[in-house]
């Protein structure tokens, strides 16, 4: 911050505003640190490099889905089709790369675009046919669940002949360092998504639509077009998540995916994005996803009975959202 600009008032951005905007993220980050510290003290197996990469690795799929769906939720919408949609994309990846034997790069692009296509259909149903997002994506969730089974013949598609495919997730791009590629992919797409959300027209309109859809439309912005764009864009992340999960497993599992959408939405919400739209951030979503995977990891490492793990996760979501409400009250 340049101090002279500070003084001019109109042109300078007050430091207070910056701090306030980041506060929810800071809080979420603080919670993550607290959780980390607790587990580190509670279990000798937690605070190890291997376990950190394990946590990051297990964040990749939910994290990818959550980043895409952050855009949708900021517009005030919701996407329930991301979980089973991911399974369908994984299957499509198998179809492109294994069954059709397309070159790897082509198959990957085709899979991501297929995810975008699903999002596009969601967007058209929501923006043009005016079907409420909850219903439109619920329908897509069922369609994708069924299609994944139909296309795959209800059997997993194995990438045994495509060792390069699994490397996308499990390989180590950095030689000699045990750091899974999947995590690098997550970081890269998070940065891209963050830039798109904060620096581009798509991002601005995403916030504007969520803040006040009618005012945005009356400002001459074709809200229908941009909503379709947002859902289609979020769809690309469904495709990517499909690649990431199938590359990790070495197979496309058609029956998986149900329930991932709720975990992704939980990550977004813990990260401070409002379900009523208008605000949210990629960094927050990533922290939210990390909180979920750290809890899952830490609780298991502490040998907490599985019955209790979801109880605790549920409580964390409540606390996270309540903190957000407290913050809003004071704003």
């Amino acid at each position: 911050m340049v101090t002279t600009r500070e003084k001019s008032g109109v042109a300078g951005r007050p430091v207070g505003a910056v701090v306030k905007g980041r506060l929810q993220q800071l809080l979420a980050f603080a919670s993550l640190i607290v959780i980390f510290a607790f587990f580190s003290v509670a279990s000798p197996f937690f605070f190890t490099y291997g376990n950190f990469t394990a946590i990051l690795f297990s964040t990749v799929v939910i994290g990818t889905l959550a980043i895409g769906t952050t855009f949708v939720i900021i517009t005030g919408g919701i996407d329930l089709s991301i979980g089973t949609g991911m399974a369908l994309c994984a299957v499509m990846s198998g179809v492109f790369i294994v069954n059709l034997d397309l070159p790897l790069a082509v198959g990957l692009v085709a899979t991501v675009l297929f995810g975008g296509l699903m999002g596009l259909v969601n967007g058209i149903n929501i923006a043009l046919l005016k079907i409420p997002p909850f219903i439109a994506t619920l329908a897509m969730m069922l369609v994708a669940e069924g299609l994944a089974l139909v296309v795959s013949g209800s059997a997993p598609i194995y990438f045994s002949e495509e060792p390069a495919y699994t490397k996308i997730s499990t390989g180590n791009l950095i030689p000699g360092v045990d750091f899974p590629n999947a995590v690098i992919v997550l970081i890269v797409v998070a940065v891209i998504a963050g830039v798109l959300l904060t620096k581009t027209v798509l991002g601005r309109y995403t916030y504007s639509i969520g803040s006040n859809e009618e005012a945005t439309a009356l400002s001459g912005i074709d809200v229908r077009k941009w909503k379709i764009a947002v859902y289609a864009f979020a769809g690309l992340f469904i495709g990517l998540a499909g690649i990431m999960i199938s590359a990790r497993l070495g197979s496309a599992q058609p029956a998986t995916g149900m329930g991932y959408e709720l975990q992704a939405i939980a990550a977004v919400v813990i990260g401070g994005t409002s379900l009523s739209g208008g605000k949210g951030s990629i960094v927050g979503t990533l922290i939210g996803a990390l909180i979920i995977s750290t809890l899952n990891n830490g609780l298991q490492i502490m040998s907490i009975p599985q019955e209790w793990q979801n109880v605790i996760l549920g409580c964390v979501i409540l606390v996270a959202v309540y903190t957000d409400i407290l913050r809003k009250k004071e704003a």
Partner: protein, 533 residues
């Protein structure tokens, strides 16, 4: 007069003394005073942001004061919440209605204290009976079984009043009760207030409309910047004096519209515009650099005309011609592309991103066209442009990063204007440009409209305030029941002529109305004569 029937002046009904209230970073009220006498109507005036709504919230128990005391009938008061306030005998009617649109009139009036049978079952019959009895006592034109969402705004206001009076309050506080009412409805409301005021009750009447205050109030309390200014007898004080107290300075007298010329070229022609809902064959033209006023009663179709032109609502028929060539508008985005911007009467709902900053709002419409390269936003350019408009439109804001919900109504309106200027719109449609804006800021908006017209922008100004229409408009389109009943020149426009055409009921025979409209000089002149007589 009411003042004569009032109890001795030494006995205040409600007294507020030495009240301070701060919010984080803002001192909303400081040493606030107020004295409502039994049997009077006390007007409370002040510019937006002067502290009226904070005071209301303290009186309704939504907030608690930092210091200071409330006294009702000589007894000190602590107000725990809205429900407690009504129990104590203070009923408040807020500017924004607290009604459930899907419920009936009776259900709304008795919401939260519905008569029951056997503790659990609702006694609908008694509910309706009680409501009917109450409505009858208040002489209100309401059906207890009507669904509130289907009522006109005026009747919804009546439901609010019925609800407030059903508690038998000692003190009734009304915040801008006439903002959405036409003259006849205002008269009905005032009658109701007069019936309510008895030697043991009192009314605090918050309003921007000076004529109304003169008609209904006995005394007026002026507040400014969270502080008490003075309380004066309405009869002994001129409107200009009151306004001067509110704004802390005297306002210049104003004349009629500026820059009226007959030789302007036609910019936009609207021909035969119709909608399924209301509009029938709306035809008029808009000239370059002109301020075209739109007058009419509530529901005449003025806002609907604007929304139909900009593509916000579906159109059934009609042709738009811009600079001689026909244009089609199916969506607000089309309108904006042709340089037509609409500024809604409901800024908060249709005009602003309230939780976003000034910069985001000013640049919203022009973002893609002016402030981006390959989709990436130029933050510095956007900031510079926003700062420029903040300067040129005299928007009072600490910075372009201020969230717009914290700006006053007038400054919010200027932010919306800036948005359209940033988008290079030549035609600006203002729907109630000064609604909810205090007197001082109104003047600024008027000045701004005149400046814009001078710069060659064409302005359609929809307004329910006749003085505003007369003062600003080069010509006046008068509407009634979805049709244009007359287009008046500045010279022939007067309160009387406008009201005549605004209340004209187009007969079954459409031709009759058209004939009237097409016969300007005689009808207008005759009407003028009648008005004067």
């Amino acid at each position: 007069m009411l003042t004569e029937t009032a109890t001795p002046r030494t006995l205040p009904l409600l007294e507020v003394e030495g009240v301070d209230k701060s919010f984080p970073g803002v001192r909303a009220l400081s040493d606030m005073r107020l004295e409502l006498r039994a049997g009077e109507v006390l007007a409370l005036v002040g510019e937006n942001g002067a502290g009226k709504s904070t005071l209301m919230k303290l009186l309704s128990g939504i907030h608690t004061p930092d210091t200071g005391t409330f006294t009702l009938d000589g007894e000190p008061l602590t107000i725990a919440g809205p429900k407690h306030a009504t129990e104590l005998g203070i009923s408040i009617i807020h500017q924004e209605f607290n009604l459930v649109p899907h419920l009936t009139v009776a259900q709304n009036v008795f919401i939260g204290r519905e008569p029951r049978r056997a503790r659990l079952l609702l006694d609908e019959r008694r509910l309706v009976r009680d409501a009917r009895e109450l409505i009858g006592r208040l002489h209100l034109p309401l059906d207890p079984n009507a669904v509130v969402g289907d009522l006109t705004v005026a009747n919804q206001q009546m439901v609010e009043i019925a609800k407030a009076l059903s508690y038998d309050p000692k003190v009734l506080i009304m915040d801008e009760p006439t903002a959405a009412l036409n003259d006849a409805e205002v008269a009905t409301l005032h009658e109701l207030i007069r019936r309510f005021v008895r030697p043991e009750t009192g009314v605090i009447y918050i309003s921007h409309r000076m004529e109304e205050i003169r008609r209904i109030a006995d005394r007026v309390t002026v507040i400014r910047d969270g502080q008490y200014v003075d309380t004066v007898d309405v009869a002994a004080t001129s409107t200009r004096e009151i306004i001067a107290m509110m704004v802390g300075r005297t306002l210049a007298d104003h004349a009629g519209p500026q820059g009226v010329r007959a030789d302007r070229e036609v910019l936009l022609e609207v021909t035969g515009l119709s909608t399924k809902a209301l509009l029938k064959d709306v035809t008029f033209d808009l000239r370059a650099g002109e301020i075209l006023g739109f007058a009419g009663l509530m529901g005449a179709g003025r806002t609907e005309t604007a929304r139909a032109i900009v593509g916000a609502d579906p159109v059934d028929g009609g042709v738009l011609t811009l600079r001689g060539s026909r244009i089609r508008i199916g969506h607000p985005a089309d309108a904006v592309r042709h340089g037509i911007g609409y500024l809604s009467e409901d800024r908060k709902r249709y005009g602003l991103l309230l939780d976003k900053d000034v910069k985001a709002n000013v640049t919203l419409g022009a973002l893609a066209r002016r402030f981006t390269t390959a989709g990436f936003v130029h933050d510095r350019a956007a900031r510079a442009a926003a700062s420029e408009y903040v300067g040129s439109l005299r928007i009072k804001t600490p910075s372009v990063d201020q969230t717009t919900k914290f700006l006053s109504g007038g400054n919010q309106q200027k932010v919306v204007i800036a948005k359209w200027l940033a988008r290079d719109c030549d035609i600006l449609i203002f729907d109630e440009p000064t609604r909810g804006i205090d007197v001082g800021a109104k003047e600024e908006i008027y000045q701004l409209l005149n400046e814009l017209a001078e710069q060659g922008k064409s302005i359609i100004m929809i307004s329910s305030e006749l003085p505003e229409v007369l003062r600003m408009s080069h010509r006046v389109v008068v509407m009634s029941e979805g049709r244009v009943t007359r287009i008046l020149d500045a010279a022939e426009a007067s309160q009387e002529t406008i009201m005549h055409y605004a209340t004209l009921r187009p007969d079954e025979n459409v031709e009759d109305a058209k004939e009237l409209g097409l016969d300007p000089v005689e009808t207008g002149a005759a009407e003028d004569e009648e008005g004067k007589a």
